[in-house]
């Protein structure tokens, strides 16, 4: 069974899956990695994004087009969520990790239930012409169902990363978590910078949602299964290293695919975390993070 085509195909599948994981983790990379808000509700927001995409595809739109349309409402949703978050914590001056976690946990319960009331708890999936066929290159068979979502990730990640590292509002976003007052001193409104960042993070959820629902069907509670993996990716990448998270996600994807192919798929959920624990033990600051 150790044939070269199985190995190659496993690696390619791993890369594609990893790339989808990176999509899921991108928003968390901003809220948790950069703003240090442990937004445990992010995977649920991704599921909400998937349902948004699902709804539009029912009217005959392509999922990617639907995701692009979703950017604006999800950006606004993020802005509203952050406004709520900051309103809750304003009087206290700031939230600690514990309180934020609890708040976002509560929020994710609420979103899950709203989704399940709105869409029912049945699995929903999208059917598009390219889903179900594959690209064949030599011995490689690459399903479009994975390929298309996997291509979304590098594009979005590159866009977000360029925005964060090359523009001044990107610098402001990177700065705000560390020293809010530095922004005020610069004549920038820290609250609106954070709202904006949260909006961007939430907007990425709709892209990730499109990727998720193209890969396979989803139901309102599907986000729970992703929480661990996306946090692992953000942390291993070194909190806030956006390109790093793509690399880590792909490493995890490949490892999972190899374990499935050669060992047994039932061991693969442990893989992301075995990598996480190992990574943290060897390089506590994350693979791409600067020493802190």
């Amino acid at each position: 069974m150790l044939s070269i085509d199985i190995l190659l195909n496993a690696i390619v599948t791993g890369i594609l899956l990893g790339s989808v994981y990176a999509s899921l983790a991108l928003g968390l990379g901003i809220t948790f990695g950069i703003l240090h808000i442990p937004n445990i509700a992010h995977p649920t927001l991704v599921v909400a994004g998937a349902f948004f995409v699902y709804t539009l595809t029912q009217w005959g739109l392509d999922p990617i087009v639907a995701a692009v349309i979703g950017l604006v409402p999800f950006y606004l949703l993020g802005v509203v969520l952050y406004a709520f978050y900051s309103a809750v914590f304003e009087r206290k001056g700031g939230a600690n990790v514990l309180q934020s976690l609890t708040l976002f946990f509560g929020l994710s319960l609420v979103i899950e239930i709203l989704l399940s009331l709105g869409f029912g708890s049945e699995l929903k999936s999208v059917s598009v012409s390219y889903i179900g066929s594959s690209l064949k290159i030599g011995i490689l068979t690459v399903p479009y169902r994975l390929l298309i979502p996997a291509l979304l990730a590098p594009v979005t990640i590159a866009a977000v990363w360029l925005y964060l590292s090359r523009t001044s509002s990107g610098t402001a976003i990177r700065a705000v978590a560390h020293e809010e007052r530095a922004l005020s001193i610069a004549g920038l409104n820290p609250a609106s910078v954070k709202r904006h960042a949260f909006g961007i993070a939430t907007a990425t959820a709709v892209i990730a949602g499109a990727a998720l629902i193209m890969v396979g069907p989803i139901e309102p509670f599907a986000g729970r299964f992703q929480i661990g993996r996306v946090f692992a990716i953000v942390v291993l990448a070194g909190m806030g290293s956006i390109p790093g998270s793509l690399v880590i996600a792909i490493i995890i994807g490949i490892a999972e695919a190899l374990v499935s192919s050669y060992l047994n798929p039932s061991w693969s959920p442990g893989v992301a975390f075995a990598i996480l624990l190992l990574g943290l033990a060897l390089r506590p600051q994350g693979l791409f993070g600067a020493a802190r």
């Binding site: 069974m1 044939s3 085509d5 199985i6 195909n9 496993a10 599948t13 594609l16 899956l17 899950e112 239930i113 399940s116 009331l117 709105g118 869409f119 029912g120 708890s121 049945e122 699995l123 929903k124 999936s125 999208v126 059917s127 889903i131 179900g132 066929s133 594959s134 068979t141 399903p143 479009y144 169902r145 994975l146 890969v215 396979g216 069907p217 989803i218 139901e219 309102p220 509670f221 599907a222 299964f225 695919a257 499935s260 192919s261 047994n264 798929p265 039932s266 693969s268 959920p269």
Partner: protein, 394 residues
């Protein structure tokens, strides 16, 4: 009528959490309740349902059933959905000697062997091992020698796969590939490649809805050998409207287990009337509009309880149980007789082949001919189309 204390029937249903897609069963309970009450109740007493949400978690079950029994004073209990959620309640009913109808828990009473427990589902005796036997009977008839088995790492699928492997052995088939995969696996391409490498003639799959979709799509993407005669077996999902609708023609050729399909051998006025009333409610609640798999048997559970109560003229667990053990009961799913541990005496799990599906319209599934019954022979409405690749293309 009004003076008497109502008969209370208690159940927990997974309204939320991963098993929430089974909550359409509750409509079955409610239709039954409305029907009995419209017909004057049982023993001249009204029937009242007490239903709690177990959030798909076994941890909630003990307290819920104690509440149902000790606080709400229910006379009859329906179990939660499936074996994992039912397991916590088995010692409880055994120890308290209570009467319960089991809901879709495969082999749920095999350990406890409680004599007041009755399955509403058509698993039949030895269900842990035998319930998917139909698939292997078909395979044997096709002369299959090599079989591959894969299953989700969840209770139901695991039992199905384990039973399947035993039956395969019994029939002298070689299991060339046998692997389980974790829940929520979304890509099966490497597994399908590994299966192809083993060159099987039949593939038995025990999966849950999300993976069922991924497997069917994966097969389409990666391709599968023309030697494969049977594909499917114990896939949960292609019984539900959601998957039938989203996969549509991709399902053609699949041979899969089922509990009810609208084929001529099963269609009766009673069950037709059930679905006529079920569908509008389901549409309103946003649950599966077809509801073939689960809801009829929730109605059946009610009918079993009703028969036990009226037959024994009491709500005494021992008398009710004695009646069900002694008498076969007419239900919308046919006549049911029970063995000593509450299994149906006769296995009535269907193996159906999906055929002639065009487009994603759900209404076509209400017509015969799309879910052809291959097994059991008593209900058979057609012959297997094989190999899979050919059946798929048709």
């Amino acid at each position: 009528f009004a003076q008497d204390k109502p008969i209370r029937v208690g159940a927990s249903v997974s309204l939320t959490g991963p098993l929430a897609s089974t909550k359409n069963g509750q409509i079955g309970y409610e239709l039954w309740r409305d029907d009995v009450n419209a017909a004057g109740g049982l023993l001249d007493r009204k029937v009242e349902l007490v239903i709690y949400d177990d959030q798909s978690s076994a941890a909630n079950v003990p307290a819920i059933y104690s509440k149902l029994v000790d606080v709400d004073a229910c006379d009859v209990l329906f179990s939660p959905y499936g074996a994992n959620l039912s397991a916590p309640v088995m010692p409880f009913i055994k120890q308290r000697d209570l009467f319960m109808i089991g809901m879709f828990g495969l082999a749920g009473n095999d350990v406890a062997k409680h004599d007041k427990f009755f399955h509403s589902g058509p698993w039949g005796p030895n269900s842990g091992r035998d319930w998917a036997r139909g698939f292997f009977d078909l395979a044997k008839a096709q002369g299959v020698k090599k079989i591959a088995i894969i299953n989700a790492d969840l209770e139901f699928s695991k039992n199905a796969a384990k039973g399947g492997a035993e039956v395969a052995k019994e029939y002298g088939m070689e299991v060339v590939f046998n692997q389980s995969y974790p829940p929520n696996t979304s890509d099966f391409s490497s597994m399908i490649r590994n299966i192809n490498a083993g060159d099987p003639e039949a593939i038995f799959i025990a999966s849950y809805p999300a993976d069922s979709t991924a497997i069917i799509r994966g097969v389409k993407e990666i391709g599968i050998s023309d030697k494969v005669k049977l594909f499917g077996g114990a896939m949960i999902g292609p019984q539900y409207g959601a998957l039938l609708g989203s996969l549509g023609p991709e399902l053609n050729g699949l041979v899969n287990s089922h509990t009810f399909v609208p084929e001529p051998t099963m269609q009766t006025p009673a069950i037709k009337s059930f679905f006529d009333r079920y569908t509008p409610i389901a549409v309103k609640q946003g649950v599966d509009p077809l509801g073939f798999y689960i809801p009829p048997f929730y109605y059946v559970a009610g009918q079993l309880a009703a028969a036990a109560i009226t037959g024994s003229k009491s709500v005494d667990p021992a008398k009710m149980a004695a009646f069900l053990h002694a008498n076969a009961v007419d239900t919308i799913a046919g006549k049911i007789a029970f063995n000593e541990i509450g299994d149906w005496k006769e296995r009535r799990v269907l193996m159906v082949q999906l055929r002639g599906i065009k487009g994603n319209d759900l209404e076509q599934f209400r017509n015969p001919g799309h879910q052809v019954i291959l097994d059991p022979p008593s209900l058979k409405t057609g012959d297997l189309a094989a190999p899979y690749n050919k059946a798929r293309a048709s």
